[in-house]
Subunit: 200 residues, 2 copies
Amino acid sequence: MKLIDFGNTNAKIYHEGKITTIKVEEFDFSQKDFYYINVNESIKDKLKGINLEDKFTINSNYKGLGVDRKVLCYYINDGVIVDAGTAITVDVMRDGAHEGGFIYPGIASFYNLYKDISPLLKIQRDSSIKSFSLPQNTTQAIEFGIYYPLINGIKEISKDYKIYFCGGDGKELSNYFENATYIEDLIFKAMRKIVEENIC
Amino acid sequence: MKLIDFGNTNAKIYHEGKITTIKVEEFDFSQKDFYYINVNESIKDKLKGINLEDKFTINSNYKGLGVDRKVLCYYINDGVIVDAGTAITVDVMRDGAHEGGFIYPGIASFYNLYKDISPLLKIQRDSSIKSFSLPQNTTQAIEFGIYYPLINGIKEISKDYKIYFCGGDGKELSNYFENATYIEDLIFKAMRKIVEENIC
């Protein structure tokens, strides 16, 4: 089963247990034998595989939930789902129902934003675990600003729920939570479930 | 007493009980009779007034604290100071000592950042009080992302401290806190205190 997750820049492909990422423009659009989800308007008429978007529903009152978030919600019955990529989406599922969710800028875009506000606020990103004692210099003050409010916000809405992280920054962020799991291929696990329960 | 707070774009002038804001390039640099603070490197050699930066100190271990934050900390003995402008700075003072602080992007820059991440995430800013129940559409999801983590972050570090808000978005943000005061001219109150205690 070949599964593809088309974004605005990249296509993530799951095939025979391996995940590869290519630029969307490098994709061979003559291919037919795959299941996909797509958020990229510019290619939607060129895709010849099977679009999973219309093959499933979730229990939600949220208007305009992106298909990628919907797919993840389909897979998790109870818990908080954090997809940390270009944007960070946080969704809450309880008893199979989507209770709502919020959108936060991606970690990388934050670093750029500080730099744009003032050249004095340009710092290097590193992946060390931040301590969150009250900052005593500019680097700490910015790292605190990027991570601490987000982490507190997620903690506030997740309470005792299990938190499922995925996306490029999911692994790093999951380190700040006790009740967290990072699942690299969560989107593909979820897509596979949709295929198995709704198509096969 | 004329007091001027020079930023990178604007100069805020306090004179005879009134605050006016002008573009830095509109300032008459031949003037001499004023006290000022300045974060704008490009004009620092042209200013003929009295620079308050070297006239006072605060008790802090923070390396590289901006003069505007330092001035505010000089004025508040106990409490959290939130200056919400192009950037949002949050500083904690206890018993006259600066315990540290963090820097967050300004509210307006957040709205722009979402729009840059995806045109689907472009929403209009409005000044209504946000509810923070779990969002059920894109606008709510973004507003929640902008306000909720920041407000939670400030609450976490402020505990039972009084919170003093200033800056362009200070009034709006102060609405989300019970123990908050908005003081529009906080920076000038602080500058006046420095003049009175260290110069006159």
